[in-house]
Symmetry: none
Subunit: 195 residues, 2 copies
Protein backbone atom coordinates (compact mmCIF):
# COMPACT_ATOMS: atom_id res chain seq x y z
CA UNK A 1 0.00 0.00 0.00
CA UNK A 2 1.85 3.01 -1.27
CA UNK A 3 -1.04 5.33 -1.44
CA UNK A 4 -2.43 8.34 0.40
CA UNK A 5 -6.07 7.51 -0.23
CA UNK A 6 -5.67 4.03 1.13
CA UNK A 7 -4.15 5.40 4.32
CA UNK A 8 -7.24 7.55 4.68
CA UNK A 9 -9.52 4.59 4.10
CA UNK A 10 -7.55 2.62 6.66
CA UNK A 11 -8.03 5.39 9.22
CA UNK A 12 -11.76 5.41 8.65
CA UNK A 13 -11.88 1.69 9.00
CA UNK A 14 -9.83 1.85 12.19
CA UNK A 15 -12.17 4.45 13.61
CA UNK A 16 -15.21 2.38 12.82
CA UNK A 17 -13.58 -0.69 14.26
CA UNK A 18 -12.68 1.11 17.46
CA UNK A 19 -16.37 1.85 17.90
CA UNK A 20 -17.84 -1.46 16.83
CA UNK A 21 -15.10 -4.06 16.97
CA UNK A 22 -16.29 -5.33 13.66
CA UNK A 23 -15.64 -4.84 9.95
CA UNK A 24 -19.05 -4.29 8.32
CA UNK A 25 -20.38 -5.20 4.89
CA UNK A 26 -19.17 -3.65 1.66
CA UNK A 27 -22.41 -1.70 1.45
CA UNK A 28 -21.79 -0.16 4.85
CA UNK A 29 -18.16 0.50 4.01
CA UNK A 30 -19.32 2.51 1.01
CA UNK A 31 -20.90 4.97 3.43
CA UNK A 32 -17.92 4.93 5.75
CA UNK A 33 -15.45 5.51 2.96
CA UNK A 34 -17.70 7.94 1.11
CA UNK A 35 -17.72 5.79 -1.99
CA UNK A 36 -20.57 4.52 -4.16
CA UNK A 37 -19.34 1.21 -5.47
CA UNK A 38 -18.92 -2.03 -3.62
CA UNK A 39 -16.42 -3.33 -6.10
CA UNK A 40 -14.10 -0.47 -5.35
CA UNK A 41 -14.45 -1.10 -1.63
CA UNK A 42 -13.38 -4.64 -2.31
CA UNK A 43 -10.38 -3.41 -4.24
CA UNK A 44 -9.41 -1.21 -1.31
CA UNK A 45 -9.74 -4.00 1.23
CA UNK A 46 -7.73 -6.28 -1.00
CA UNK A 47 -4.94 -3.72 -1.02
CA UNK A 48 -5.15 -3.38 2.76
CA UNK A 49 -4.91 -7.13 2.91
CA UNK A 50 -1.81 -7.12 0.74
CA UNK A 51 -0.34 -4.59 3.14
CA UNK A 52 -1.19 -6.93 6.04
CA UNK A 53 -3.59 -4.63 7.86
CA UNK A 54 -6.47 -7.03 7.56
CA UNK A 55 -6.97 -10.65 6.63
CA UNK A 56 -9.75 -13.16 6.09
CA UNK A 57 -11.10 -15.98 8.16
CA UNK A 58 -11.66 -19.33 6.46
CA UNK A 59 -15.26 -18.17 6.06
CA UNK A 60 -14.16 -15.14 4.09
CA UNK A 61 -14.91 -12.61 6.82
CA UNK A 62 -12.52 -9.70 7.15
CA UNK A 63 -10.64 -9.42 10.42
CA UNK A 64 -7.91 -7.06 11.61
CA UNK A 65 -4.31 -8.15 12.00
CA UNK A 66 -1.86 -7.03 14.63
CA UNK A 67 -0.63 -4.33 12.26
CA UNK A 68 -4.11 -2.91 12.18
CA UNK A 69 -3.66 -1.74 15.75
CA UNK A 70 -0.08 -0.54 15.48
CA UNK A 71 0.43 3.16 16.02
CA UNK A 72 2.40 5.32 13.65
CA UNK A 73 5.91 6.13 14.83
CA UNK A 74 5.25 9.85 15.03
CA UNK A 75 2.86 9.40 17.89
CA UNK A 76 5.32 7.81 20.25
CA UNK A 77 7.57 10.39 21.82
CA UNK A 78 10.71 8.38 21.79
CA UNK A 79 14.34 9.10 21.56
CA UNK A 80 17.00 7.07 19.89
CA UNK A 81 17.62 3.62 21.22
CA UNK A 82 14.06 3.02 22.27
CA UNK A 83 13.54 -0.64 22.85
CA UNK A 84 10.59 -2.41 21.31
CA UNK A 85 7.55 -0.99 22.98
CA UNK A 86 3.86 -0.74 22.42
CA UNK A 87 1.49 1.96 23.49
CA UNK A 88 -1.63 0.70 25.11
CA UNK A 89 -4.41 2.73 23.59
CA UNK A 90 -8.13 2.48 23.55
CA UNK A 91 -8.73 1.43 20.00
CA UNK A 92 -6.83 -1.77 20.36
CA UNK A 93 -7.95 -4.76 22.10
CA UNK A 94 -7.04 -5.95 25.48
CA UNK A 95 -3.56 -6.62 24.29
CA UNK A 96 -2.19 -8.09 27.52
CA UNK A 97 -5.12 -10.45 27.82
CA UNK A 98 -4.64 -11.44 24.23
CA UNK A 99 -0.97 -12.03 24.86
CA UNK A 100 -1.48 -14.27 27.88
CA UNK A 101 -4.74 -16.04 27.13
CA UNK A 102 -4.97 -18.51 24.27
CA UNK A 103 -8.06 -20.39 25.32
CA UNK A 104 -10.38 -18.19 27.32
CA UNK A 105 -12.71 -20.99 28.34
CA UNK A 106 -9.88 -22.91 30.02
CA UNK A 107 -8.10 -19.98 31.59
CA UNK A 108 -8.50 -18.82 35.16
CA UNK A 109 -6.75 -16.19 37.22
CA UNK A 110 -5.54 -17.19 40.66
CA UNK A 111 -4.02 -14.88 43.24
CA UNK A 112 -0.75 -16.23 44.59
CA UNK A 113 -0.42 -16.58 48.35
CA UNK A 114 2.93 -16.95 50.08
CA UNK A 115 6.49 -16.87 48.87
CA UNK A 116 7.19 -20.51 48.12
CA UNK A 117 8.01 -19.69 44.50
CA UNK A 118 9.93 -16.52 45.14
CA UNK A 119 13.11 -17.73 43.44
CA UNK A 120 11.10 -18.17 40.27
CA UNK A 121 10.12 -14.52 40.50
CA UNK A 122 6.60 -15.27 41.69
CA UNK A 123 5.63 -13.11 44.63
CA UNK A 124 2.86 -13.04 47.17
CA UNK A 125 -0.08 -11.18 45.64
CA UNK A 126 0.88 -11.85 42.05
CA UNK A 127 -1.88 -13.09 39.81
CA UNK A 128 -1.21 -16.39 38.08
CA UNK A 129 -2.72 -17.03 34.64
CA UNK A 130 -3.60 -20.71 34.70
CA UNK A 131 -4.77 -22.88 31.87
CA UNK A 132 -6.93 -25.64 33.28
CA UNK A 133 -5.87 -29.14 32.31
CA UNK A 134 -5.02 -32.34 34.03
CA UNK A 135 -1.69 -33.14 32.50
CA UNK A 136 1.60 -31.28 32.48
CA UNK A 137 5.22 -31.80 31.54
CA UNK A 138 8.23 -32.08 33.81
CA UNK A 139 9.53 -28.59 34.44
CA UNK A 140 6.15 -26.87 34.05
CA UNK A 141 4.95 -24.73 36.87
CA UNK A 142 1.62 -26.22 37.83
CA UNK A 143 -1.29 -25.51 40.08
CA UNK A 144 -1.88 -28.71 42.01
CA UNK A 145 -4.51 -29.57 44.55
CA UNK A 146 -2.89 -30.73 47.77
CA UNK A 147 -4.93 -31.17 50.95
CA UNK A 148 -7.81 -29.27 49.39
CA UNK A 149 -5.61 -26.27 48.73
CA UNK A 150 -4.27 -24.86 45.53
CA UNK A 151 -0.52 -24.84 45.47
CA UNK A 152 1.79 -23.45 42.82
CA UNK A 153 4.94 -25.49 42.31
CA UNK A 154 7.30 -26.80 39.68
CA UNK A 155 6.47 -30.30 38.52
CA UNK A 156 9.42 -32.67 38.72
CA UNK A 157 10.12 -36.35 38.88
CA UNK A 158 12.01 -38.29 41.51
CA UNK A 159 12.55 -42.04 41.42
CA UNK A 160 9.75 -42.40 38.93
CA UNK A 161 7.25 -40.45 41.03
CA UNK A 162 5.97 -36.94 40.51
CA UNK A 163 6.99 -34.34 43.06
CA UNK A 164 6.23 -30.67 43.51
CA UNK A 165 9.28 -28.54 43.94
CA UNK A 166 9.05 -25.08 45.48
CA UNK A 167 11.37 -22.31 44.38
CA UNK A 168 12.38 -21.36 47.89
CA UNK A 169 14.83 -23.33 50.04
CA UNK A 170 12.76 -22.57 53.14
CA UNK A 171 9.96 -24.79 51.84
CA UNK A 172 9.95 -28.57 51.60
CA UNK A 173 9.55 -30.57 48.44
CA UNK A 174 6.06 -32.04 48.30
CA UNK A 175 5.91 -35.77 47.63
CA UNK A 176 2.24 -36.61 47.17
CA UNK A 177 1.17 -40.06 48.23
CA UNK A 178 -0.96 -41.72 45.60
CA UNK A 179 -2.05 -39.70 42.62
CA UNK A 180 -1.14 -36.10 42.08
CA UNK A 181 -4.08 -33.95 41.19
CA UNK A 182 -3.16 -31.23 38.74
CA UNK A 183 -5.56 -28.35 38.32
CA UNK A 184 -3.75 -26.49 35.58
CA UNK A 185 -0.53 -25.16 34.15
CA UNK A 186 0.92 -21.70 34.68
CA UNK A 187 0.95 -19.87 31.36
CA UNK A 188 1.39 -16.33 32.56
CA UNK A 189 2.00 -14.05 35.49
CA UNK A 190 0.70 -10.60 36.27
CA UNK A 191 1.84 -8.20 38.96
CA UNK A 192 0.43 -4.83 39.88
CA UNK A 193 2.55 -2.28 41.70
CA UNK A 194 0.72 -0.05 44.14
CA UNK A 195 0.82 3.56 43.21
Amino acid sequence: MNNDKDTEYLSKLQDYYADWKNIPSYARLCEIFGIASKSWVKAILTRLEEASFIERTPDGAWIPTRQFFARPLAESTVQAGMPASVTATQGDFFIIDEMLIDTPSKTTLITVKGDSMIDAGIHDGDVAVVEKRMTANIGDIVVAIVDDNFTLKTLDRENGAFILRPANPAYPVIRPQGTLEIFGVLTGLVRKYRR
Copy 2:
Protein backbone atom coordinates in the same frame (compact mmCIF):
# COMPACT_ATOMS: atom_id res chain seq x y z
CA MET B 1 -28.25 -16.47 31.85
CA ASN B 2 -28.58 -19.03 34.57
CA ASN B 3 -27.85 -21.99 32.48
CA ASP B 4 -25.05 -24.55 32.18
CA LYS B 5 -25.47 -25.11 28.47
CA ASP B 6 -25.32 -21.44 27.70
CA THR B 7 -22.09 -21.15 29.67
CA GLU B 8 -20.68 -23.88 27.49
CA TYR B 9 -21.83 -22.13 24.32
CA LEU B 10 -20.31 -18.90 25.57
CA SER B 11 -16.99 -20.68 26.15
CA LYS B 12 -16.97 -22.03 22.63
CA LEU B 13 -17.77 -18.62 21.26
CA GLN B 14 -15.02 -17.04 23.33
CA ASP B 15 -12.50 -19.59 22.11
CA TYR B 16 -13.50 -19.03 18.49
CA TYR B 17 -13.33 -15.30 18.98
CA ALA B 18 -9.86 -15.54 20.52
CA ASP B 19 -8.72 -17.18 17.29
CA TRP B 20 -10.59 -15.09 14.73
CA LYS B 21 -11.66 -11.85 16.38
CA ASN B 22 -15.01 -12.22 14.79
CA ILE B 23 -18.42 -13.69 15.50
CA PRO B 24 -19.32 -15.77 12.46
CA SER B 25 -22.65 -16.52 10.79
CA TYR B 26 -25.37 -18.60 12.41
CA ALA B 27 -24.55 -21.41 10.00
CA ARG B 28 -20.95 -21.46 11.18
CA LEU B 29 -22.00 -21.20 14.80
CA CYS B 30 -24.05 -24.34 14.29
CA GLU B 31 -20.80 -26.20 13.70
CA ILE B 32 -18.99 -24.48 16.55
CA PHE B 33 -21.77 -25.18 19.01
CA GLY B 34 -22.44 -28.65 17.66
CA ILE B 35 -26.01 -27.78 16.81
CA ALA B 36 -28.07 -28.24 13.66
CA SER B 37 -30.53 -25.39 13.71
CA LYS B 38 -29.88 -21.74 13.05
CA SER B 39 -32.96 -20.65 14.93
CA TRP B 40 -31.66 -22.24 18.10
CA VAL B 41 -28.32 -20.53 17.63
CA LYS B 42 -30.19 -17.27 17.44
CA ALA B 43 -32.03 -18.10 20.64
CA ILE B 44 -28.71 -18.78 22.36
CA LEU B 45 -27.14 -15.54 21.16
CA THR B 46 -30.22 -13.63 22.25
CA ARG B 47 -29.81 -15.05 25.74
CA LEU B 48 -26.12 -14.18 25.74
CA GLU B 49 -27.17 -10.70 24.72
CA GLU B 50 -29.60 -10.46 27.62
CA ALA B 51 -26.75 -11.49 29.88
CA SER B 52 -24.61 -8.69 28.36
CA PHE B 53 -21.89 -10.83 26.91
CA ILE B 54 -22.58 -9.72 23.38
CA GLU B 55 -24.52 -6.96 21.66
CA ARG B 56 -25.43 -5.77 18.19
CA THR B 57 -24.18 -3.00 15.97
CA PRO B 58 -26.74 -0.74 14.30
CA ASP B 59 -26.32 -3.04 11.29
CA GLY B 60 -27.36 -6.05 13.31
CA ALA B 61 -23.90 -7.62 13.52
CA TRP B 62 -23.01 -9.35 16.74
CA ILE B 63 -20.09 -7.92 18.68
CA PRO B 64 -18.57 -8.76 22.06
CA THR B 65 -19.01 -6.53 25.09
CA ARG B 66 -16.52 -5.81 27.83
CA GLN B 67 -17.90 -8.65 29.89
CA PHE B 68 -17.13 -11.03 27.08
CA PHE B 69 -13.43 -10.67 27.80
CA ALA B 70 -13.49 -10.87 31.59
CA ARG B 71 -11.85 -13.84 33.29
CA PRO B 72 -12.72 -15.28 36.70
CA LEU B 73 -10.35 -14.43 39.53
CA ALA B 74 -10.06 -17.05 42.26
CA GLU B 75 -8.36 -16.89 45.62
CA SER B 76 -5.76 -19.56 46.17
CA THR B 77 -7.42 -21.20 49.12
CA VAL B 78 -10.42 -23.14 48.04
CA GLN B 79 -12.95 -25.29 49.76
CA ALA B 80 -12.94 -29.02 49.87
CA GLY B 81 -14.17 -31.28 47.17
CA MET B 82 -13.66 -29.09 44.17
CA PRO B 83 -14.48 -30.60 40.85
CA ALA B 84 -12.62 -29.38 37.79
CA SER B 85 -15.29 -26.83 37.06
CA VAL B 86 -14.30 -24.90 40.15
CA THR B 87 -13.76 -21.25 39.68
CA ALA B 88 -17.11 -20.31 38.25
CA THR B 89 -18.42 -20.52 41.78
CA GLN B 90 -17.30 -17.36 43.41
CA GLY B 91 -15.16 -14.33 42.98
CA ASP B 92 -14.89 -11.43 40.64
CA PHE B 93 -14.19 -11.18 36.98
CA PHE B 94 -11.22 -9.29 35.70
CA ILE B 95 -9.73 -7.97 32.53
CA ILE B 96 -5.98 -7.96 32.91
CA ASP B 97 -5.45 -4.84 30.83
CA GLU B 98 -7.89 -2.85 32.90
CA MET B 99 -6.29 -4.13 36.05
CA LEU B 100 -2.82 -2.93 35.03
CA ILE B 101 -3.54 0.09 32.88
CA ASP B 102 -5.18 3.19 34.30
CA THR B 103 -4.23 5.66 31.62
CA PRO B 104 -3.88 3.96 28.25
CA SER B 105 -2.54 7.02 26.50
CA LYS B 106 0.32 7.32 28.97
CA THR B 107 1.05 3.66 29.32
CA THR B 108 3.67 1.78 27.39
CA LEU B 109 4.76 -1.82 27.39
CA ILE B 110 8.50 -2.42 27.43
CA THR B 111 10.26 -5.75 27.28
CA VAL B 112 12.81 -6.15 30.06
CA LYS B 113 16.37 -6.97 29.05
CA GLY B 114 18.89 -8.44 31.47
CA ASP B 115 18.68 -9.57 35.07
CA SER B 116 19.60 -6.46 37.00
CA MET B 117 16.24 -6.50 38.81
CA ILE B 118 16.06 -10.21 39.41
CA ASP B 119 15.79 -9.91 43.19
CA ALA B 120 12.65 -7.87 42.67
CA GLY B 121 11.18 -10.74 40.72
CA ILE B 122 11.68 -9.04 37.37
CA HIS B 123 13.21 -11.37 34.84
CA ASP B 124 14.74 -11.06 31.42
CA GLY B 125 11.96 -11.13 28.86
CA ASP B 126 9.24 -9.93 31.20
CA VAL B 127 7.05 -7.15 29.90
CA ALA B 128 7.00 -4.01 32.02
CA VAL B 129 3.86 -1.90 32.13
CA VAL B 130 5.16 1.64 32.35
CA GLU B 131 3.23 4.81 32.95
CA LYS B 132 5.03 7.66 31.28
CA ARG B 133 5.75 10.61 33.54
CA MET B 134 8.72 12.64 34.58
CA THR B 135 8.49 12.45 38.33
CA ALA B 136 8.55 9.55 40.75
CA ASN B 137 8.79 8.84 44.46
CA ILE B 138 11.61 7.28 46.38
CA GLY B 139 11.14 3.53 46.33
CA ASP B 140 9.34 3.45 42.97
CA ILE B 141 10.72 1.25 40.27
CA VAL B 142 11.34 3.60 37.38
CA VAL B 143 12.38 3.51 33.77
CA ALA B 144 15.18 6.04 33.52
CA ILE B 145 17.20 7.20 30.55
CA VAL B 146 20.90 6.81 31.21
CA ASP B 147 23.43 7.29 28.44
CA ASP B 148 20.65 7.15 25.84
CA ASN B 149 19.56 3.78 27.14
CA PHE B 150 16.47 2.77 28.99
CA THR B 151 17.11 1.17 32.32
CA LEU B 152 14.76 -0.24 34.92
CA LYS B 153 15.86 0.43 38.50
CA THR B 154 14.58 1.37 41.92
CA LEU B 155 14.70 5.09 42.59
CA ASP B 156 16.48 5.95 45.83
CA ARG B 157 18.22 8.88 47.43
CA GLU B 158 21.75 9.11 48.76
CA ASN B 159 23.22 12.21 50.34
CA GLY B 160 20.47 14.30 48.83
CA ALA B 161 21.03 13.02 45.32
CA PHE B 162 18.92 10.57 43.34
CA ILE B 163 20.41 7.20 42.60
CA LEU B 164 19.25 4.13 40.71
CA ARG B 165 19.52 0.95 42.65
CA PRO B 166 19.50 -2.43 40.90
CA ALA B 167 18.00 -5.46 42.58
CA ASN B 168 20.98 -7.65 41.93
CA PRO B 169 24.26 -7.44 43.89
CA ALA B 170 26.20 -8.17 40.71
CA TYR B 171 25.24 -4.77 39.30
CA PRO B 172 26.49 -1.39 40.49
CA VAL B 173 24.36 1.40 41.85
CA ILE B 174 23.97 4.10 39.23
CA ARG B 175 24.75 7.62 40.42
CA PRO B 176 23.83 9.93 37.56
CA GLN B 177 25.84 13.11 37.21
CA GLY B 178 23.59 16.09 36.78
CA THR B 179 19.88 15.56 36.30
CA LEU B 180 18.24 12.21 36.25
CA GLU B 181 15.91 11.75 33.33
CA ILE B 182 12.91 9.65 34.22
CA PHE B 183 10.85 8.13 31.43
CA GLY B 184 8.14 6.55 33.53
CA VAL B 185 7.15 4.51 36.51
CA LEU B 186 6.62 0.76 36.64
CA THR B 187 2.97 0.07 37.39
CA GLY B 188 2.72 -3.55 36.37
CA LEU B 189 4.58 -6.60 35.19
CA VAL B 190 3.57 -9.33 32.78
CA ARG B 191 5.30 -12.64 32.14
CA LYS B 192 4.42 -15.28 29.60
CA TYR B 193 5.57 -18.83 30.06
CA ARG B 194 6.34 -20.62 26.83
CA ARG B 195 4.37 -23.72 26.36
